[in-house]
């Protein structure tokens, strides 16, 4: 229990506090308002998204990679469980943890900046949808990875850059062309934008588009997972 507390909860909270001190306090105080809100408040949705993405992928990928690595996965495969139940268990566990963290970070943020959430229902919906989508993605990475390096490479080389470029700390309107247009290919833009819309009613792209894009991502991940269980890829020779 104590181990879980320190590793899983205290660490991201401390990291987030650091972000607020540096970006919200030190730099943000010197910046003009973005999209009608103070910079400190502006980065809150982005920071939560950053945690949701990295935590969901990390939790889900290690959760399935480790049993495969230590071969204890045999027990899951030989248990009277359907593929859907197995995926549900892993994804729900990973998503629950990252949503809890996101809520803790949201709570921490209120100490640093005044927050007003315009559409709380949508905020929770975006949170859940993002957590599920990226836990599914993490589950796929965990099965695909053949060693610890590969397990770390996708989050480090793909997800973190996309999140930073995806408008976690700025509005993509601030980017010069052609980067602004190029960035529209970045899926994280739609997530952050939709999530920020649920807070402040404005986003870089239309909220419907954000939802559709996240839904599409979930569908693609589900299709891949269906294929994994159908062919037995790396799970079942």
């Amino acid at each position: 229990m104590r181990r879980t507390f320190w590793q899983s909860i205290a660490t991201p909270v401390i990291t987030t506090v650091l972000y607020f001190v540096v970006f919200g306090g030190a730099i943000g105080s010197r910046m003009q308002h973005v999209g009608g809100v103070g910079y400190g408040a502006f980065i809150v949705p982005g920071l939560i998204m950053l945690t949701l993405l990295t935590q969901s992928i990390g939790n889900a990928s290690i959760a399935i990679y480790f049993p495969i690595f230590t071969k204890t996965v045999y027990e899951i495969l030989s248990a009277p469980l359907s593929a859907m139940e197995t995926v549900f268990a892993y994804v729900a566990a990973a998503a629950t943890k990252s949503v809890l963290l996101a809520l803790i970070i949201l709570g921490t943020a209120t100490f640093f900046t005044p927050l007003h959430i315009l559409h709380p229902g949508w905020m929770v919906a975006f949170m859940l949808l993002t957590a599920v989508a990226f836990s599914l993605f993490g589950f796929i990475i965990g099965i695909w990875a053949q060693n610890f390096e590969q397990l770390a490479i996708v989050p480090a080389l793909v997800v973190t850059p996309l999140t930073f470029l995806g408008g976690a700390f700025y509005s993509i309107d601030m980017l010069p062309q052609p980067w602004r247009t190029v960035n529209l290919l970045n899926p994280v833009v739609y997530l952050v934008s939709g999530f920020r819309w649920s807070f402040y009613g404005t986003g870089d792209v239309a909220v419907g588009l954000s939802l559709a894009f996240t839904g599409l991502f979930v569908a693609v991940c589900l299709a891949l997972i269906w294929w994994i269980f159908h062919t037995g890829y790396r799970l079942k020779p």
Binding site: T70, K71, T72, Y74, E75, L77, S78, P80, G232, K236
Partner: protein
């Protein structure tokens, strides 16, 4: 009564092209101890893995107590407990937690009294709050068995249960297997030790190169292949085999130092005493003697030769 497991025309081809199981047909009777014998790479583990659901099959059918393992996998798997050859455990979990977790995974309600009895039976009770990583190899294997038995399975698979296990644990394991059988559990174990199969099993199936070569009652198989050999190390080397010993078909090694005599242990008269008497009369002394049973390797050689 229908067999508890029936395997028909089971084919398993791995992606590498290796045919691990080549149209296997096998029926396991209720409440028997069945030993699957075979050399390394014969397909023993693959056969078990397919039945338990950890490896997919290419074609064929497996019924577990009448349930098809593909269409009706829930009912089939709920009946089975599996102990792998390799120790694969969540090393950070405590003994109690990992065994209780297995029970839940197989859809059984928690039953602390049953888990306690199980851990006591396996001499794990004292270790229940220790993490798996702190246990010795033998204890870890006991945990594997406890996990497999946690959901009170009707069928228990033991893949090489005594490979690398000390005498105590082996004896405990054999006692446990017999007790389980008396309680109505069917046990299928794989081994490449013929003594183990002979000691434990009601029936023996021999598998090589993915094919079941024969299935037979243990007693019948031992009779069939119960050739034994008497080896005599001579006090003084012989230049040639004396004519008087020829009726026994004994063989003399090249140095003239070792005499070997093959006999059928189940025959009415083995001819050993007559041979030794005759040697005494001839003044051939020996300083050491040894008898050995035909090994599993010999059985394979004769079976595979017979098949081809």
């Amino acid at each position: 009564m229908q067999p508890i497991i029936s395997v028909s025309a089971l084919l398993k081809t791995y992606k590498s092209g290796l045919i691990a199981l080549d149209h296997v047909d096998l029926a396991i009777e209720r409440q028997e101890i069945f030993a699957l014998l075979g050399p390394n790479g014969a397909g023993k583990t693959t056969l078990i893995s397919v039945i338990c659901g950890t490896v997919g099959m290419s074609s064929g059918q497996v019924l577990v107590d009448g349930h098809d393992i593909v269409r009706d996998y829930r009912a089939a798997r709920a009946l089975i407990g599996l102990v792998l050859q390799e120790i694969s455990l969540d090393i950070f979990a405590t003994v109690w937690n990992t065994v209780s977790f297995s029970r839940g995974l197989f859809g059984c309600w928690p039953d602390p009294a049953y888990i306690e009895r199980l851990l006591r039976d396996l001499s794990l009770w004292e270790k229940r709050d220790q993490r798996v990583i702190e246990l010795s190899g033998g204890m870890k294997r006991r945990v594997m068995i406890a996990k497999a038995l946690s959901h009170e399975p009707k069928i228990l698979f033991l893949d090489e249960p005594t490979a690398g296990v000390d005498v105590n644990l082996r004896r405990d394991m054999w006692a446990l297997v017999r007790r389980l059988r008396d309680m109505g559990v069917t046990i299928i174990l794989t081994t490449h030790y013929i003594e183990e199969a002979e000691e434990m099993a009601d029936r023996i199936g021999v598998i090589a190169q993915g094919r079941i070569l024969l299935v037979e009652d243990t007693a019948a198989l031992m009779r069939k292949f119960g050739r034994r050999q008497l080896t005599l190390v001579l006090q003084h080397p012989l230049a040639a085999l004396p004519v008087e010993l020829e009726p026994w078909n004994v063989e003399l090694d090249q140095e003239g130092q070792v005499l070997t005599y093959g006999f059928d242990a189940n025959a009415e008269s083995t001819g050993i005493s007559a041979l030794l008497r005759r040697m005494g009369e001839l003044g051939i002394d020996f300083k050491d003697l040894d008898t050995s049973r035909s090994s599993l390797e010999d059985i394979f050689v004769s079976l595979v030769d017979g098949a081809s």
